[in-house]
Symmetry: none
Subunit: 205 residues, 4 copies
DNA sequence: AATGAATGAGTATTCATTCAT
DNA sequence: TATGAATGAATACTCATTCAT
């Protein structure tokens, strides 16, 4: 797969046998995360996937459908991780585990945030993307809220839990944006501040 | 200024006598805030300013220079507001005033956030914009940190103050992004959570 | 057969067992008649025939060959009808029968005209199609000329008969074009005018 | 104007100073007449006009608008000729003059027919073109009908006159299609047949 | 025979930029 | 200063054709 410029992990062996459709979705995500949505042309995505651009339109009706598929898949995978973490954690450790994972994701999966931020900002002027984000973010927030409910000894989420989950998700996005823009951003302190805020809010029942 | 569709504050009388250069800068901001950076073509900005697109290149060497000027100006104006507020507030009311203004800006100046988010995300893949943002955000954070220092009875900002200022600025961006994307977002609770976090962090010295 | 939108007589039971080659030919005719030659892509024809587009190139060397086959078949079938009608009609009723059939075909087989007009116009810039049309139209005109010869009590066609046959065929095409374009076109009167013209020309020997 | 392949009369001196918009319209007509609508790409039209294809979209919102302008202009010019001829002819010579002009146009302005036929057939599946044709053909037929009314000593057109005008226009299109497709077509006889038909219809009042 | 995947050339359109006036 | 015309490269998308299975 002799690719021109700046390619990443898609030609790695593990991707070799993935279906073309899946490789296109993965390539779209990679290009958006690495170069931004404005650089995510059909041509550049196809090049990243190692196929010709015409093929993109064989697998997807149009570019938007491809990008939406990429967004959906990224959010789905994120949701799976959130669920898996919660299921694997004892009730009394939920908050602890949540923040450990948050810090972990923030530092290890920056691509996820880069792509999500790009999509989220475009969604401000692109209703179809907004609908997808609203839907999947809603599910993710509801899921996270269960974490906080568990921390308070409940197994259904109250308004208070949902508010905290939504706030943390929103705030994390902004903090990631600041940090990705500026490596000097005090991530550690930001994490501490947010964690204290969460604990305070939960204690304050 | 939540504008409906395709409208302009720029052909309003007060703008009529602004220099063309200034009108182009203002138009660029309006278009970016309203329609997003991907819709901010030279043609659409010039149309918003009520001039022909060719003229843009008389006043600015290229499109990027125009957009950078628009970003600079928006951030400068924001910084002025922050400074003015702080100067007009007694020391013991600084925190109170800060959050009042934050909530106020969030609800009344959504255009500022829409445009800033668009620029911030593009900056992730566009170094010149990133440099501008880093520079001006740095100043704004330093300024805000003085607010927190004042609240702790100091008149120079400590690391603690800067960390809080940076964190709040970052978090606010993310919360605005969530709210702008989804009107059902719990802004009130988010504001309370952040305010409590700030007070806790400052108290915890 | 004025069909609504996107429908097919091809997946009807009677067609199910036709050979694929024949179904492709019939589908090509249907698509050309219904949507025009510019919409007759290999993909749309194959879809109409209920097969995949790749298969088209197994049965035909290329798209042009398929369209030519469709044109040939439509003209052949038309010629058969003309012959059958003439054979079934007594000598003194030939003219009467000719016009009855003409009006009948015009109103009942508009698809035939829609497709033929499309092919005829394309033939103006596409020599292979022009050759097919010239050949088969020549035969049809010669056949029709025999009708007029019969009406004059001869059994070989004279120049006069051929001229009338050619003129009527040409004029009918144009009248159909006008009528298909504009339902308000005075078909009745046009039929009367042409019939009178034919009778006059034949009488005027 | 160094043009590549197959160019015709547009680079002639008389066109040199025509506005670009007019040259594009003329070029569109030329390409449609010469190569057919399917060959009338924006690129080929622009090349015929001696400009780059991007410029086409400066002068016309899209390709259809250019083609429609070309059709409108050709029909307008034709209508002007019809009117001028009628105005310049004494009442008792109207029919004579009509057929003289018809034969003349047929032999000298074949481009007009080639283009009109192409547009008319496309109009069968393209409603916007159909609307234009219906409108302008209606006017031309009404105008021609006045010729026949005059020949009958009236100065308003009766249904009879309109029917004849519509029929002749339709029939002429078809005869031209036959002749353009096949140089062996008996134009002379066809003209005689149609002329006799017209005179018969008018006499038969 | 038939499918589904893949290619590469072609299409209309947009856009930043240049330039003569 | 300002306009309108013009360019050329880029974009998303279509399509006839090929080919392995």
């Amino acid at each position: 797969m002799p690719q021109p410029v700046r390619q990443t992990g898609l030609s790695a062996p593990s991707m070799k046998d993935a279906s073309t459709r899946e490789r296109l979705i993965a390539a779209a995500f990679v290009v958006v995360a690495r170069d931004g949505l404005e650089a995510a042309s059909v041509k550049s995505i196809a090049a990243e996937a190692g196929v010709t651009s015409g093929l993109t339109h064989y697998h997807f009706p149009n570019k938007d459908a491809l990008l939406e598929a990429a967004l959906r898949q990224a959010l789905d995978e994120y949701l799976d991780r959130v669920r898996a973490r919660r299921a694997a954690t004892r009730q009394e450790d939920q908050i602890e585990a949540f923040f450990v994972e948050a810090r972990d994701t923030a530092t290890k999966d920056t691509d996820f945030y880069r792509a999500r931020l790009a999509f989220a900002v475009r969604a401000l002027t692109h209703p179809p993307l907004a609908a997808i984000l609203r839907e999947l973010n809603g599910v993710a927030i509801a899921e996270t809220a269960l974490t906080f409910a568990a921390a308070r000894g409940r197994d259904v989420a109250a308004a208070r839990d949902l508010e905290l989950a939504a706030t943390l998700k929103g705030a994390f996005d902004g903090l990631m944006l600041s940090w990705l823009s500026n490596p000097a951003f005090p991530v550690e302190a930001a994490g501490d501040i947010m964690e204290a805020a969460a604990r305070g809010w939960l204690a304050d029942t």
